[in-house]
Amino acid sequence: MTFILKTEALNKVYRRGGIVGGKNIHALNDVNITVESDRPVVIAVVGESGSGKTTLAKTLLRLETPTSGRAIVYDDVVAGKGAIPSRKDFLGLVQPIFQNPFEAFSRYRPVDAYLLETARRVAGLGAAPAEAAVEVALKNVGLDYEEIRGKYTAQFSGGELQRISVARALIPQPKLIVADEPVSMIDASRRMIIINLFKRLRDDEGRSFVYITHDLATAYYISDFVAVMNKGRVVEFGPARKVMSHPQHDYTRLLLSSIPTTNSRWRERPRLVASN
């Protein structure tokens, strides 16, 4: 069995204010998550704004250094003491997908330049194999390289651009992809295209995902494990089906009851309209 993701007493403290009268903010407060599996998995991290989800993602992506504790991805330490030193090795293991694809890529540069750069710099490929790798990655997300080549972000829809982000993340063949709110900027009717793509990449390509979201319905649909975060702490963690059908913590229950479903209403809507 491999430790797909393991965090050991992960802490991140931000200091706000001056030396006197400053305040410490625990963005991550003793976060312990252990996912051990032989199969690739999707791990959802859910919680409200300010719960520490994004800090956790940033720590796993090495965009933040933890104040204490460490994080392990596929048996390699990626953050904290004893982390693998090479940036290139790290980027070959963990790749990000960000919330807003229009901000992830520059407006002034064709998007395929980013894909080629990832293939050459991170995956270390020569010119011809890099092109081939880009083509394969784009095909994997249902896009054609010839239609992408030389185009700028403004020429794509949010959904298409996010699929290109996924393709870029796939190029170095990472074992884990950290996706921070990957569908919140996308049209609701097209979100499932990205979600189903993650599902397929897990099942057919063997990629694991950390899926950061506040949308519990898609988290239920796609995840194997779910971590519920509130105020920097993981308040509930376990197999997704179990946590969501038998929530133990009050905060998980609150989150679940806040989802606008189409099965039952929060309150009766009095019929006010007689006719039109």
């Binding site: 919680g47 409200e48 704004s49 300010g50 249902g142 829809s157 949010g158 959904g159 298409e160 049209d187 609701a188 009717s189 097209r190 979100r191 499932m192 295209i193 979600i195 189903n196 506040h214 949308d215 519990l216 319905a217 898609t218 239920y220 649909y221 969501m244 059908s245 609150l254 989150l255 679940l256 009851s257 806040s258 989802i259 606008p260 479903t261 189409t262 099965n263 209403r265 929060w266 309150r267 809507r269 009095p270 019929r271 006010l272 309209v273 006719s275 039109n276």
Partner: protein, 303 residues
């Protein structure tokens, strides 16, 4: 009630004319919440702007008209010509990403006083405003803060407070909860529903989230490619959607406890950027208060 008569809203860009809203005829009754759904670029926001009367170049009304059927503050009927004078009094607008629409460099209380049409006694207005935001679950001190000192949910509440302070007859809310997390979203939506029931006015809510529509609305309006594909009572639309696009919208999202494959229709229909359906502008009443447009699947040879 608001009546749209064969309304066509276009944008003139360069030498080209784009019809963002293309021949919409419908009646919105008083005292109800109407939800508007549809993909990005289907004309939702353009239609809302037109109803609000915020028509600025390059946008213009190329055909048809809007009958408001509302009375303004001084008793005169609201028309397309004088609708701007009724902003925030008879008609108000909660814009998209409205939590960023508060003026960042002045205090909230000054934004209440700045409001057009407020009575000239500032102290009285502020007292009323303080009492009002208290009712909406905001601490009265938040009136003295700058917008950046409030959380996203508080700013959104503040925008709703500003939009509802004069008890307008019509409120247009364009994606009022998109940037908020589920817990805050529920609070804001419950607040909107309560205010609507209390004021007995009409609220138009634009949202991508069909769950939000099911929770909040009395009637649903589904738009596609600048046209209305379906319009009817929410219960009827959700129980028995008539148009394949409406079906796709309702089916596309997963629900807790349901493990079936979702979004397959959307993946097929939405993978490319091309239009899949051709929609006729005329609506047919298939059931009482439930209208659907005739349409054909493009490229199937049936058109």
């Amino acid at each position: 009630m608001i009546r749209l008569n064969d309304l066509k809203i276009s944008y003139r860009i360069g030498g080209r004319v784009i019809d963002a809203v293309d021949g919409v005829t419908l009646t919105i009754p008083d005292n109800c919440v109407v939800g508007i759904a549809g993909e990005s670029g289907s004309g939702k926001s353009t239609l809302m702007k037109a109803i609000y009367g915020d028509i600025q170049s390059p946008m213009y009304v190329s055909q048809g008209s809007i009958d408001y059927g509302l009375k303004g503050g001084d008793g005169t009927p609201v028309t397309a010509e004088n609708v701007r004078e009724e902003w925030f009094k008879t008609i108000s607008y909660v814009p998209q990403s409205s939590m960023n629409s508060l003026n960042p460099v002045i205090r909230i209380r000054d934004q209440f006083i700045d409001f057009p049409g407020t009575d000239s006694n500032k102290k009285r207005v502020l007292e009323a405003a303080r009492a009002y935001i208290g009712k909406l679950g905001l601490p009265p001190e938040s009136m003295d803060s700058y917008p950046h000192q409030l959380s996203g949910g508080m700013r959104q509440r503040m925008m709703i407070a500003l939009a509802t302070f004069f008890k307008p007859e019509l409120i247009i809310a364009d994606e009022p909860t998109t940037a908020l997390d589920v817990v805050v979203q529920k609070d804001i939506l419950m607040l909107l529903m309560e205010l609507q029931e209390e004021m007995g006015n009409t609220i138009l809510v634009v949202s991508h989230d069909m769950g939000v529509h099911y929770q909040v609305t009395h009637k649903m309006l589904i738009m596609y490619a600048g046209r209305v594909v379906e319009y009817g009572d929410t219960d009827s639309v959700f129980a028995d959607p008539q148009h394949p696009y409406t079906k796709m919208l309702i089916d596309s999202l997963p629900t807790l406890g349901d493990d079936s494959m979702r979004g397959v229709l959307a993946s097929q229909a939405g993978a490319g950027s091309d239009r899949v359906y051709r929609v006729e502008p005329r609506l047919i009443e298939v059931k009482p208060h439930h209208y659907v447009a005739q349409s054909a699947i493009l490229g199937a040879g049936a058109a």
